[in-house]
């Protein structure tokens, strides 16, 4: 299950998608909009993506993780558009027979997603300013969530 959605992510659906009688371990990761980055206050985030390529990259990551970590299944859903405080922008569910690979894969998937999947976040700060986040620059916010 790989999706890009414009409304609330239903994590129950991800858990169901990856669960079976063989999945002794299921790990779900949720990335949510956080109110404070240091002292700066966020009003909301807005995400944009390159849809066809983002879906292709998510599917490739899914297949690579299943192979690399010996998983049973992976589901990934990313939301685009406005994501309010406390709401989920990305959900990753991983299932495996044993718990270790499920944790390792969940960690690897979100790390890798943040590096290669063409999705961008815009900060709408409480002071009224806005900022596209393009990491690894002196002049721009880097994302450390």
């Amino acid at each position: 299950m790989i999706q890009i959605v414009e409304t609330t992510i239903d994590h129950q659906q991800l858990l169901q998608a990856v669960s079976s009688h063989q999945s002794g371990a299921v790990v779900l990761f949720l990335g949510n909009t956080r109110e404070f980055t240091g002292e700066r206050q966020t009003t909301f985030l807005s995400y944009e993506c390159y849809p066809e390529m983002a879906l292709r990259k998510l599917e490739a990551l899914r297949e690579e993780a299943i192979r690399k970590f010996g998983l049973l299944d992976v589901a990934m859903v990313h939301r685009v558009g406005q994501v309010d405080l406390g709401e989920t922008s990305v959900a990753i569910a991983v299932s495996s027979a044993h718990r270790r690979p499920a944790f390792e894969a969940g960690n690897w998937l979100i790390d890798t997603l943040k590096k290669v999947v063409p999705i961008w976040k815009k900060e709408i700060w409480a002071d009224g300013s806005t900022e596209w986040v393009h990491p690894d620059s002196e002049s721009q916010t880097t994302d450390s969530r």
């Binding site: 390159y50 815009k122 596209w132 990491p135």
Partner: protein, 79 residues
Amino acid sequence: MKILLFAGLKEAIGDEELEIRVEGRTVAEVKAELATRFPEVENLVRRSHFAVGQDYVSDSFRFETTPDEIALIPPVSGG
């Protein structure tokens, strides 16, 4: 050839696509022209990657005469 723009690049250049000659040139050469035409995003262009047919290509990649869909991908920040 039209190339797709996103996020900070789209906002700075003011359009979601851009006409530029790519056929037979390398990614590095096209980036150099972009930096000249849009000096305000020189830094961001340098840190961006081209995708051809929705796969990343390196700076030494040379565009075909009739390439697939081309996009200029600024550093990503999903998640």
